[in-house]
């Protein structure tokens, strides 16, 4: 009767087994191989996704608006489907995620007296879990500034992460292609 190891369930021969050394070694080797391959896949497919922009986009003034993306750089867990949504990363494996976003914003002309630009990380389109709020906006040369934001999101399966822009600069014209959103699972 073949026996099995206590943790990984690898088969090994016992004294009463038929003397078939090649078969016993093959069974053992294949069991170890399968086990290590499965472990390796768990590491290689750790959830991570990154989206970025391809062209410029414009945004309304004084309206919180989700930022769209056109290119999927990495996606190990099918978090993005740009044919369904250009703004969302969807959690497929529940856990704690480090989420990061950045954007380059062009401004032409004067800014208002009390300017602000907010980059907001949102869970399920509503709950902010990271906000970067900028007030010192003095466009000159170059006439753009970069904003980034990061945060930890606790994601259940089918929860979504997105990033939104909110500003009050009438002379702001567009968001450059230098915009991205990434999410990386750090814990269960």
């Amino acid at each position: 009767m073949v026996a099995f190891t206590p943790n990984r369930n690898y088969p090994y021969s016992t004294a009463g087994d038929p003397a078939d050394v090649p078969q016993a070694l093959q069974d053992f080797a294949e069991a170890v191989d399968d086990d290590l391959e499965t472990r390796d896949a768990v590491i290689r497919t750790r959830p991570y996704a990154k989206l970025r922009g391809a062209g410029t986009v414009t945004f309304p003034v004084n309206v919180q608006t989700p930022i769209p993306f056109e290119i999927e750089d990495f996606d190990t867990d099918s978090m993005a489907d740009l044919t369904v949504s250009r703004t969302l990363l969807t959690v497929r494996t529940a856990g704690l995620y480090w989420v990061h976003a950045r954007a380059r914003i062009y401004v032409t002309g004067a800014v208002p007296a009390n300017p602000f630009v907010l980059l907001i990380l949102l869970e399920n389109g509503a709950t902010a879990f990271g906000v970067n709020r900028m007030h010192s906006l003095s466009p000159g040369s170059p006439n753009y500034f970069d904003v980034s934001v990061s945060g930890l999101g606790i994601g259940a399966v089918d929860d979504t992460f997105s990033v939104a822009l909110h500003h009050n600069i009438p002379t702001y014209t567009e968001l450059s292609r230098f915009r991205e959103l990434s999410a990386f699972r750090v814990a269960n």
Binding site: T5, R8, A15, V32, D35, I43, H135, L152, A187, N188
Partner: protein, 182 residues
């Protein structure tokens, strides 16, 4: 006496008498123990790094020109006993030695005078800070991210400091720590 591989797996030497079941059992059990203890556990730990996420929206007064330890009232995530609000609402204790990423976001009430700083301290020592100028028409929100080595038992505190000339209220604050590497 069998030979052993560098990982400790036993194998029969040519000079040994053949006892295939026993020799195979020894090898299988050695591989089993090694994979379980040194690979599977390491992978699982690597995929579930010690992390904590805490926040508070309870107003906290930040005195002028004073380092004030921020307190946290909501613990959203903690998989390694980082934080115990029953013991301290300000201290985060590193569960193991390693390289960590720390993040703090702190909001100050509107006030146009002076600067607002978000600071990370380890064992009471200043490690990193970020400063922004205050504004009169909006809250001032300072966010900083920093990576640093921690030793098991180190105490991380998140600190606010401002120089408006008067005490300022801190409204919302979020702090997090994630282990990156051993």
């Amino acid at each position: 006496m069998p030979g052993t591989t560098p990982r400790g797996y036993p194998f029969p030497l040519y000079t040994e008498s053949a006892n295939f079941p026993t020799q195979m059992q020894s090898l299988a059990l050695a591989v089993d123990t090694d994979v379980q203890n040194n690979l599977v556990t390491a992978v699982n730990n690597g995929l579930n790094q010690p992390s904590v996420l805490a926040s508070s929206s309870v107003v906290q007064s930040i005195a002028n020109l004073t380092d004030v330890n921020l307190n946290f009232t909501v613990e959203s995530y903690d998989n390694a006993n980082w934080f115990n609000s029953g013991v301290s609402q300000t201290n985060f204790t590193a569960p193991s030695t390693g390289f960590y990423m720390m993040r703090l976001s702190v909001s100050y009430a509107s006030n146009a005078t002076g600067a607002r700083t978000a600071i990370v301290k380890i064992n009471g020592n200043f490690i990193w800070g970020k400063t922004l100028t205050g504004v009169s028409y909006d809250i001032t929100q300072v966010m900083t991210v920093h990576m640093h080595q921690l030793t098991a038992g180190d105490i991380v505190t998140f600190v606010a400091r401002q120089n408006s000339g008067v005490a300022l209220n801190c409204t919302n604050r979020i702090a997090s720590i994630n282990k990156i590497s051993a």
